[in-house]
């Protein structure tokens, strides 16, 4: 009786606390002493949790959340009677009443929701139904587009992910179920441009790998990153986490095996921050541990595998879900721990460790979604202990500030991208990647001159000048040419050509072919001789002759005997590229 009384008293106290807080399920951080010792915890975050589902009867699960550039937020979730519902509210205002998403092709439950927003504020939503079909619909200003089937009906399986490029192209990663061999699965990317009516399709794995659980992200250069789980032997004994990296043209740049090649490495997630760094996480099922790796575009290397310390010894095979989001330069990870709680963590790049930010839920969670708002991290989650409600937790984070604009483009030599070109003038002087692409966020109103530089190359245009940049500047492309060198050892002698009665002064120029042009295999078709008076500035160069490439001299005849000319001789290759005057 004494024990029962004690328990009752504790329950009473808890109920009182809940009553005092109304409906809000405030986070209850219940760190064990040993957990505290394991965690780095940053200063207490401002955390607020609200119920966002309506009063309709029945269970509600699988929420997805997103905030667009206008501050509008959308939460979708599976409602009762296997219907899909949504709720919508502008930030700071009250939430709208839940309503069903109209015209759904199937009303057979929904799972695996994912939501992204484009530059216009349109929300792009993805979910799968129980008929193994991936469904897509978008939402703007209170109106839904008609949901459409992305995958073939009945062919979808285990996971789907959506991302949006800066040009508002929607990218969906889908799992395609194959009957053979061994019911294997393959990953398909779907692309739909802003004005396209249908999705284009690109297979990125094959049936021999049997891949599922894709996660897709877009980096600031509009590269697409896909992390997925592959079953190498098709017998579920070697599940690895693989990564595929595509350029803006959706051409594969490289791939990487992120996990060790043993165990059950699955449910990968991925996010790219404003610096173009890419974080990937996954779960090793048998130890119930989360792992992460960070990709640095400057070094083009992945970090070593970092174990994510979420504080509590996990229950093997019980931990299976996490979500990543980038907020400016920061990465946030929301992860479940054996159904005990849902925790938000932040990556500390200096210490290379994940730091606890807040515990979102102490209750068991089936499914949740994480999204980076302007000044809050948004976590929508369902609750096994309260299945009739869906919750939204906001965690205050530093505001991203005024929206930056991105200047991006490609440097190409002939038709191929040229890597390693330093874009001087942009903040941080970024370099082009292996696809020749570059990109950098600039502050509102930024101005400056961007000039590509790489030893041995010249560029057209030489530079681009910006002023008061307030929107994304895409397609800032440059053409690269092998930098033809000008001639070597140019010498000028003032000489006189005379007979007995007549004569004149000439400047005799001699030079040597530049061996660097020969080394680069350049065919010099001609050379251009420029002249200016010594006192004139460099804009006054006048072309006075263009001897053939094999000629190594030129005489500037009939110059005034008291002239003070200086000369430059450039080389022109068979494509018309000319070396610089210097």
């Amino acid at each position: 009786m004494k024990r029962i009384a004690t328990i009752s008293a504790i329950l009473l106290i808890v109920l009182c606390i809940m009553a005092a807080n109304g409906d809000a399920a405030r986070p209850r951080i219940k760190l064990m002493p040993e957990e505290t010792a394991l965690l780095e915890t940053q200063a207490a975050a401002v955390v607020k949790t609200i119920k966002i589902s309506g009063n309709q009867a029945g269970n509600k699960r699988y929420p997805g959340v997103c905030e667009n550039a206008n501050g509008d937020r959308l939460v979708i979730y599976r409602g009762p009677n296997i219907l899909y519902w949504y709720t919508f509210a502008r930030k700071g205002a009250s939430w709208s009443a839940p309503a069903v998403i109209p015209n759904q092709p199937t009303m057979k439950s929904c799972t695996s929701t994912d939501v992204e927003a484009d530059s216009t504020g349109r929300f792009h939503c993805l979910w799968e139904d129980l008929q193994k079909t991936l469904i897509y619909a978008s939402f703007l200003n209170g109106k839904w587009t008609t949901p459409t089937k992305v995958s073939s009906a009945g062919k979808h399986d285990m996971g789907g992910s959506i991302a949006v490029r800066s040009n508002d192209e929607v990218i969906i990663a889908d799992v395609n179920f194959l009957r053979s061999p061994n019911n294997s699965k393959e990953i398909i990317l779907y692309f739909k441009g802003k004005n396209d009516s249908h999705f284009a399709q690109k297979n990125i794995t094959n049936d021999r790998e049997s891949s599922t659980m894709p996660a897709v992200a877009v980096d600031p250069n509009d590269h697409v990153w896909v992390a997925l789980k592959s079953d190498l032997d098709l017998r579920d004994t070697a599940l690895i986490t693989n990564l595929y990296h595509f350029d803006r043209n959706n051409s594969l740049i490289d791939s990487e095996t992120l996990s060790v090649k043993s165990g059950w490495n699955f449910w990968p997630h991925i996010a790219a921050n404003s610096e173009g760094k890419v974080m990937a996480t996954w779960v090793l099922a048998q130890s119930a541990d989360y792992f992460s790796r960070l990709y640095d575009p400057r070094t083009r290397n992945w970090s070593s595998i970092m174990k994510v310390n979420i504080g509590t010894p996990n229950k093997p095979w019980a931990t299976f879900w996490s979500k990543l989001a980038a907020h400016g330069k920061d990465f946030y990870l929301a992860a479940m721990n054996s159904g005990r709680y849902l925790r938000l963590m932040k990556f500390n790049e200096k210490t290379q460790r994940w730091v606890n930010v807040a515990t979102i839920s102490d209750d068991p969670v089936y499914y949740f979604d994480l999204y980076s708002g302007n000044d809050q991290m948004l976590i929508a989650w369902d609750n096994a202990n309260d299945p009739s409600n869906v919750y939204l937790t906001t965690v205050d984070v530093p505001a991203l500030g005024p929206s930056t604009s991105r200047i991006s483009g490609t440097v190409r030599k002939d038709s191929s991208g040229l890597s390693g070109v330093t874009m001087t003038g942009l903040p941080g002087n970024p370099t082009t990647d292996s696809s020749g692409e570059y990109g950098m966020d600039v502050d509102p109103g930024w101005g400056g001159t961007v000039r590509p530089q790489k030893s041995g190359f010249s560029f057209s245009p030489l530079s681009i000048t910006y002023s008061n940049v307030t929107s994304n500047q895409t397609g800032q492309d440059y053409a690269a040419f092998l930098a033809i060198r000008s001639v070597a050892n140019l010498k000028v002698e003032k000489r006189v050509e005379r007979g007995f009665f007549n004569g004149y002064t000439l400047n005799a120029l001699t030079w040597e072919a530049n061996p660097e042009n020969t080394e680069m295999g350049l065919a010099i078709s001609s050379q251009r001789v420029y002249r200016k008076a010594r006192a004139e500035d460099n804009t006054k160069w006048a072309r006075i002759a263009e001897p053939a490439g094999s000629i190594l001299k030129y005489e500037d005849r009939n110059v005034p005997s008291d002239s003070d000319y200086v000369y430059a001789v450039t080389c022109v290759d068979d494509k018309g590229n000319e070396s610089a005057i210097y």
Binding site: V496, R498, F500, N502, R557, N558
Partner: protein, 215 residues
């Protein structure tokens, strides 16, 4: 030397020759016995000679790198009276070099003609000295090989000459001839030379010898 001065000098020389021609016969009469003993002298003389021409112009010498050119000449004379001959000569002065930068062949040529009087005052043994003076008529031309931007030039110049020498009898109709001649031929150029000079002195010293047929 300007043209007026040249004319005065030439006229003076002509009078000098004529005067000499007038006075020398009297002297010759003093030797009339000797002369009377000689057969009638031939009326015509024609010959060739080989001479050295030391041109005065320093620019020519500098540019063509020669202070003297050796050249053949032709001469002819007609005896008039009192051992005075009308004498004429023609020779071609040639020089050649390369232009200074492109090294194109640059040729210079003077067609030199002289007309004047020659007086043979006496004969002593086998020697028959003479003096003479007259006018020089020069035509000059520079030719530059194709490939250079330099154009040649040509022109004419006049001047005077004085000369002296002797015939040396070999046979009745053949004699040797040795001479020295000085030419005064200057030209003012319309366009200056590359070094800025505006005058050209084509005259100079000639000396040489040859063979003369008398008939």
């Amino acid at each position: 030397m300007n043209s007026t001065t040249s004319k005065i000098l030439l006229i003076t020389l002509v009078f000098f020759i004529l005067g000499t021609a007038m006075t020398l016969p009297a002297a010759a009469q003093d030797q009339g016995q000797v002369q009377n003993q000689e057969p009638k002298q031939p009326r015509f003389r024609a010959g060739v000679y080989f001479e050295g021409y030391m041109i005065n112009d320093k620019n020519l010498k500098s540019f063509y790198h020669h202070s003297q050119r050796n050249l053949p000449g032709f001469e002819a004379s007609i005896h008039t009276v009192y051992n005075i001959d009308i004498w004429a000569s023609y020779r071609i002065y040639r020089d050649e070099t390369k232009t200074t930068f492109y090294e194109k062949t640059d040729k210079f040529r003077i067609n030199a003609a002289s007309v004047g009087l020659q007086y043979r005052p006496f004969r002593w043994k086998f020697l028959e000295p003479f003096v003479g003076a007259g006018l020089d008529f020069y035509s000059y031309k520079e030719t530059v090989e194709a490939g250079s931007d330099i154009s040649g030039a040509s022109g004419n110049a006049t001047g005077f000459y004085v000369q002296a020498g002797t015939y040396v009898d070999i046979f009745k109709f053949i004699a040797l001839r040795a001479f020295y001649r000085y030419n005064g031929v200057k030209k003012t150029l319309a366009n200056p030379l590359p070094d800025g000079s505006k005058s050209m002195d084509l005259g100079g010293h000639e000396f040489g010898g040859g063979i003369v047929v008398r008939f």
